[in-house]
Amino acid sequence: MPNSRKVRLAVKYEEDFVRLKILGDPGVECVHVIANELQTALKDLASTTIMWDLSELKQMDSALALLIVKDIQRAENSDIEVLLTPMENDVEKMLNMAKEHAHFDSSFEPKAIGFIESVGTNSVRRFKDMGAFFGFFGQMSIIFFNSFYHLRHMRWKETVFEIHESGIKALPIIALTMFLIGVVVAYQSASQLKIYGANIFIVDMLGISILRELAPMLAAIIIAGRSGSSYAAQIGVMKITEELDAMRTMGFDPYAFLVLPRMMALMIMMPILIFFADIAGVIGGMLIAKVELGLSPSLFLERFVEVVKVKHFWIGIVKGPFFALLIATIGIYRGLQVKNDTQSIGFNTTKAVVESIFAVIICDAFFSIVFTNLGY
């Protein structure tokens, strides 16, 4: 291995010229030593005749050759003479090759973009993005309604697989999280209610908040993180590996094969997941009501039936398919937006999760207003 400590540029003043001699056997990892010493040396001898002494080198790599060729060109441009000592065959070959193939004037820096240009390109891109999303939504709607006319064309096997994959497998984590949320909410409110002696109202509070808002939202957020991201990543990779193109040429519509089963699966499973989230949340609350407030489960349930109207349950469940539609659409759309490089997979997967959670919250707010104004 070449040793960077031994590599050195010796500067020697002689009668009519300065001799620059390279000592040691510089590989690419220690060419910077020569480069730095050359810089320092050149400060003093800007207009002196230079002799490059390469006689001690057995071989030379391209980094060093380029450095020397560049210096020779610099000198020749300012009419300074450059001398070369005789050198080994391989070294000369390399030097000639560097001369022939060097391009000291090229630049690979990306073109700088001005503020106005960047605003413009960004706006156009966003606008096109939006158009693409509507286009995608339209195409999906067509397939969606078509599939009701031709139920036997529906990919039931894939749908069932997706129901298992993104619905049933998500059940434990959703139930556990919702149970804990029930515990936390009940615990916090119990201490407040105790002050007023309004222990029994914990049932009203938990029942309505969990059934109406907490369970649907939490289920949607977990599904967005779990399935939204996996849809985006999977379809994105399928796009890069040209699997989607292969499907198209074989006459399988990717929308019918990939998009619809996932969408249907989530829309079927979301209400069911919300139902189980309801149960888990209420059990969590019931536990705390017993421990903290001494409210027995039978009393809790009796009061529950009395005060929590069934409409709250239905409002929570009804949101499910809408949330599912948003999550599936955004996840798949983001997957299809993946370009031909690996970075855009990460980018679009992140976008899929963030956008679908955001869309779910907006949708929830919208439902809130609508149901309240309708008097539910």
Partner: protein, 249 residues
């Protein structure tokens, strides 16, 4: 000359994937300055052998010596040093898609040397020219260039540290015949200019004829023949007869 110095020596290499025996005692060696080829039918483990030499797969038993190191018991530091002395061109090019061609080529220099950005740029420009790309191509992303250009860009990346050995996995596959012949010429030229040793896996008969100095034919888990093209053709083996006779008609 140093013509007969061995830079790679493979001894009794046995490879097993689960219960599937891939190599049953391979022996071969590559001399310095040689263009060496691994030949054989699909699935005979040519690429696997190459992956073992470049330390991506483990061998079951036997030994591989590379630039004076036994790689089956090499320390990670020495391994890192060796990695800086070879260049690998993968079959699918494996360019980093999020970087431009120039950035792909510059990566090792930025990581392993203390050269200034200006010097790195000069080296990148030089390597781009040497493999026959235009300077402008350096600013493009891998998704924006054709298959042949990707191959050249990947070769430029493999050559950037002035390696001693170049590993090529089916370098001419996916290229049109004209580009493939250009690639052969390029490899021969680079070998002469840079004193490279080249190890390649190839199926391309013309390429084998044009470039290889010596080769090994792997079939039925062992080396059926090793030597120059003329020597190989003398050997009676079903694969060799079919490969060379039917292919060259």
């Amino acid at each position: 000359m140093m013509q007969n110095k061995k830079i790679i020596e493979v001894q009794n290499v046995v490879t097993k994937f689960g219960k599937n025996l891939v190599h049953n005692g391979l022996n071969l060696h590559v001399n310095e300055g040689e263009i060496y080829g691994f030949l054989g039918p699909s699935g005979c483990g040519k690429s696997t052998l190459m992956r073992e030499i470049i330390m991506l797969e483990q061998i079951k038993s036997g030994s591989i010596e590379l630039l004076g190191h036994k790689i089956e018991k090499i320390r990670s530091r020495a391994a890192q040093k060796i990695r800086m002395q070879w260049g690998v061109l993968f079959q699918s090019n494996a360019l980093f898609t999020s970087l431009t061609v120039a950035e792909n080529i510059a990566l090792s220099l930025q990581e392993y040397t203390k050269l200034s950005p200006e010097e790195i740029k000069d080296i990148v420009a030089f390597k781009i020219d040497i493999v026959g790309l235009k300077q402008f191509d350096g600013t493009l992303y891998p998704s924006e260039i054709s298959g042949g250009m990707k191959k050249k860009a990947a070769l430029a990346r493999a050559l950037v540290m002035d390696p001693k050995i170049l590993f090529l996995d089916e370098p001419t596959s996916g290229l049109d015949p004209i580009s493939a012949r250009e690639f052969d010429t390029l490899i021969l030229k680079l070998r002469d200019l840079l004193n490279l040793s080249v190890v390649m896996v190839s199926h391309d008969l013309t390429s084998i004829n044009n470039t290889l100095d010596r080769m090994a034919v792997i079939d039925n888990k062992t080396i059926v023949a090793e030597g120059t093209l003329e020597e190989i053709k003398q050997i009676h083996s079903p694969f060799i007869e079919r490969f060379f006779n039917e292919g060259l008609r």
